[in-house]
């Protein structure tokens, strides 16, 4: 679905951020991209919907090249993006108007726009917030509205750029379960984060470091092997515990637990 071929990119032409990165993302996948600051993960994400254009190489979505100006509009409709900062991605004065912005750009009739505003608001559990001012919502609610405004464009892929990094733990769990739900309904998810706790729902993990993809594979396998630790991200305590238990031979790498609940279940099955 998304094909990234030998993509290199430098900011301002001389600060290299990506070095000949190639990756294929398939329909229906939940891909998590992790890496430290400056690893190029957000830069890679912004190539997917054509916000950045590669200095070398090519990015195609469903066969459409992001460099082709005539298809950028379609690409951005297929691949929606939610940004990190909940405060600075609003365009409308009210929640309803902000969500309507995307469908308005698609040139939809007013009636259909209103239908989409309602349905995407209820999809994120914020029905009835139409007339609220985005600025007065909590961080978690803002991100939900941001997600709703992407959903209103009915994309096939949603790109998440560290969307939980400015949220409190509860709202983080809320957003994550919403994303999981979207994925279960068939949306392809590309999820950039530096929080390893958030990998529970991912079925594929890409680790980036200094503009390269260093690892790409099953998250449980990559974490159990300790590949993550080389990329400058420490393991959360629960994964560290799982790893020690694994090394002590308590269970197989294939069922490596990533969360407290999973670890509990695995341990309960032990005799």
């Amino acid at each position: 679905m998304i094909s990234i071929q030998n993509v290199s990119y430098s900011y301002n032409g001389h600060i290299p951020a990506l070095h000949s990165v190639s990756v294929e993302i398939y329909k229906g996948e939940f891909v998590a991209i992790i890496g430290g600051n400056g690893s190029g993960k957000s830069t890679l994400l912004r190539h997917i919907n054509g916000l950045l254009l590669p200095s070398a190489g090519s990015v195609t979505i469903k066969g459409m090249d992001t460099k082709d100006i005539s298809s950028v509009f379609n690409i951005r409709q297929i691949a929606g993006m939610v940004f990190q900062d909940p405060g600075s991605q609003f365009i409308g004065m009210t929640v309803g108007e902000d969500i309507a912005f995307g469908p308005e750009n698609l040139g939809l009739p007013p009636k259909e726009i209103r239908r989409r505003v309602e349905s995407s608001l209820s999809a994120v559990g914020m029905a009835g917030y139409n007339d609220h001012t985005p600025g007065k919502l909590s961080g978690g609610q803002k991100q939900k509205v941001a997600l709703a405004s992407v959903l209103a464009m009915e994309p096939e892929v949603i790109l998440f750029d560290e969307v939980t990094s400015m949220l409190d733990p509860d709202s983080r769990m809320d957003i994550l379960s919403l994303i999981k739900q979207l994925h279960e309904n068939g949306t392809t998810v590309v999820y950039v984060t530096h929080c390893l706790d958030e990998l529970v729902h991912a079925d594929r993990l890409i680790i980036m470091e200094k503009g390269h993809i260093t690892h790409d594979g099953d998250p449980r396998l990559l974490i159990s092997r300790g590949d993550v630790m080389n990329s400058g991200l420490g393991l959360p305590p629960i994964m560290e515990l799982s790893r020690r238990l694994l090394n002590a031979g308590f269970f197989e790498p294939g069922c490596f637990p990533l969360s407290r609940e999973e670890l509990r279940d695995v341990l309960c099955q032990l005799k």
Binding site: I91, E97, F101, G107
Partner: protein, 257 residues
């Protein structure tokens, strides 16, 4: 802050339901009358029109007075300038300062004009959401040959709604910056000039960043300037037709008398 700039109060009155174009044209017509009227009968007629409009939209009068408050200094400046600097029959003298009867009349009339302009404008903004106002302005501008200037009425409307959008955003980042500079020992009273610099320079850079963020968000949601529709399906209803007929009569009256 929001209450100050975008005093929109949602509701379901006749004024709320009128097409934004009708209301904008009405405001323009009202302004014409406000700038023309100088007799006190005319003024009281304006008060009557204003009060009856307020009565129909069920917004408490307090809301309107609150919107005048920030402008009080400006209004009193106008009034006292006229009062003291207009020559005529002296009614009060203290050393070189003298107030004239003509100044009193002129000052009152001028100040009231500004107050009325503001009140009628607030009547528009409190019964119409900002996006409806921009949608209305966009439609009104559409017949103008703007494309020869290289822009469309869509662009203009977008620019207006974005600048409205940035006002509270700028104010918020100003507050954050002020707090962070104060916590680092900035003394506004002792060195006001330094305070201005240490606040304005980061304010400019943060707002530039905010602009970049918003433009990224707009781009990734398919903004391309043209081919947009609006969530508000604005259209004239029977009330609008009645209003337009009233406008025509008023315009006729304005031109003839």
């Amino acid at each position: 802050m929001n209450d100050l700039f975008f005093s929109f109060i949602p509701g379901d009155s006749i004024l709320h339901r009128l097409d934004p174009r009708t209301k904008i044209l009405g405001l323009m017509l009202a302004s014409m009358f406000i700038l023309k009227v100088s007799s006190f009968t005319g003024m009281s007629l304006l008060v009557f029109v204003f009060l009856s409009l307020v009565a129909t939209c069920k917004i408490p009068l307090k809301h309107f007075f609150r919107s005048i408050r920030p402008m009080l200094i400006f209004f009193s400046l106008i009034f006292f300038m006229q009062l003291f600097f207009t020559e005529g029959q002296v009614i009060f003298q203290y050393r070189i300062i003298s107030a004239s009867h003509e100044g009193l009349v002129l000052g009152t009339v001028l100040t009231l004009r500004f107050v009325f302009l503001l009140l009628f404008a607030v009547l528009l903004t409190s019964t119409t959401s900002p996006s409806k106002i921009t949608a209305g302005i966009e439609r009104l501008l559409r017949p103008l040959p703007l494309r020869y200037a290289g822009i469309s009425s869509h662009d203009l409307a977008m620019m207006m709604s974005l600048s409205l959008y940035f006002v509270p955003l700028l104010y918020d980042s100003f507050k954050v910056l002020r707090d962070s500079q104060l916590s680092r020992g900035l003394d506004v009273k002792k060195s006001p000039l330094r305070a201005i610099f240490s606040l304005s320079v980061p304010l400019v850079s943060t707002s530039l960043r905010a602009v970049e963020d918003v433009s990224l968000a707009m781009e990734s949601r398919c903004y391309r300037g043209s081919g947009r529709t609006s969530v508000h399906s604005i259209g004239y209803g029977p009330m609008d037709h009645i209003a337009i007929i009233i406008y025509l009569f008023l315009l006729f009256y304005y031109i003839v008398f």
